[in-house]
Symmetry: C2
Subunit: 203 residues, 2 copies
């Protein structure tokens, strides 16, 4: 049994941001480590034939309110960046490149800081300067990263990680897989917690 | 301000069943009364262009597990009726007819018993005999009800209630509207509770 937990997310998703603020601590409380894996929600939705929330006006209007309410109820800072919602691909590619070049720990720190900037501070990480600034603050070389996110191998890896995720049953974000159990949505972290508790009690 | 709460549901939805087991008590704790309103999820989804969960295999596989887990975590009896999932229109029409002929209280009791039979006991309320039996146990005349659910006026009312619901922002079930606030999903009853608490404290 794989003791790790995989946390699938899209940098563009506020619900993924909410989950990102909680997932590591939740896992650590049960002796688990989280592997963060960026995927593109657009690609997942294309596969399922489901429109994105923003494409359904009656739903999007609701989601906008639900986001504010969720943030308030869970005590999380939440500010929408300029241009929200928009597709974000470069942060995901950057994270994969940083993981390859600098290891998992730095890549996860980068992802965490990206989420915090984008939805905590409301700063657009789709802006290349902002994105490079976040990486640079962690000691990553800007020029190398700028070249890295254009590498065909990195682009291909992001695509393949998405396909691999779908083969594991991922169809939305945030999505957590712990052992063989799947948890979709920020609002299923309570299910995850119950599972981890039961799972660690059974060992 | 309308002090009542409207609970929109489709008899075919297990998540609506979960919500149905909790909604009255939750509202009553804050001095509110719930108006139960059947709508047809199929019609709502047609409007939004979103496929039903069962139409997306990767999602449906997940939902099946999530239902069992949700029931277990919330301590709710859950048994899938034969033929699940399937469209259920007659129970909705029956409820509207009972409301017109026997009043709101009996109609809500009927709806509650339908949900309990269908998903608590796993008995198919799409079966006319089962449905009539549930109504009959509440003192409703079987023959009159059987004729009532075929009335054009009742069919039309169900259609119009769905359209009216969509105008209020309803795009899925279960869906609760309290005052002007909207709550979608069994997993948003905690948001509803927080709202009602805040709302009654502010009076």
């Amino acid at each position: 049994m794989n003791q790790d937990i995989t946390f699938y997310f899209d940098f563009a998703s506020p619900y993924a941001y909410f989950a990102a603020t909680r997932i590591d601590k939740l896992a650590a409380a049960h002796g688990r480590k989280v592997r963060w894996m960026p995927v593109l929600l657009g690609a997942l939705r294309q596969e399922t034939g489901s429109p994105l929330p923003v494409e359904v006006p009656i739903k999007w209007q609701y989601v906008q309110k639900d986001l504010l309410r969720s943030a308030r109820l869970h005590g999380l800072p939440y500010r929408q960046p300029p241009g929200f919602p928009k597709f974000l691909i470069d942060p995901a590619r950057a994270m994969l490149w940083i993981r390859r070049e600098h290891g998992d720990e730095l890549a996860t720190a980068f992802a965490r800081n990206c989420f915090g900037a984008n939805f905590g501070d409301g700063v657009d990480i789709g802006d290349a300067e902002v994105l490079m600034g976040i990486a640079s603050a962690l000691g990553v070389d800007r020029a190398a990263l700028a070249a890295g996110i254009k590498e065909p191998a990195i682009k291909q890896q992001l695509k393949e990680e998405g396909e691999q995720a779908m083969r594991r049953g991922v169809f939305g974000v945030p999505f957590v897989i712990a052992d063989e159990e799947a948890f979709w949505g920020f609002d299923r972290l309570d299910h995850l917690q119950a599972y981890l508790k039961q799972s660690s009690a059974g060992q």
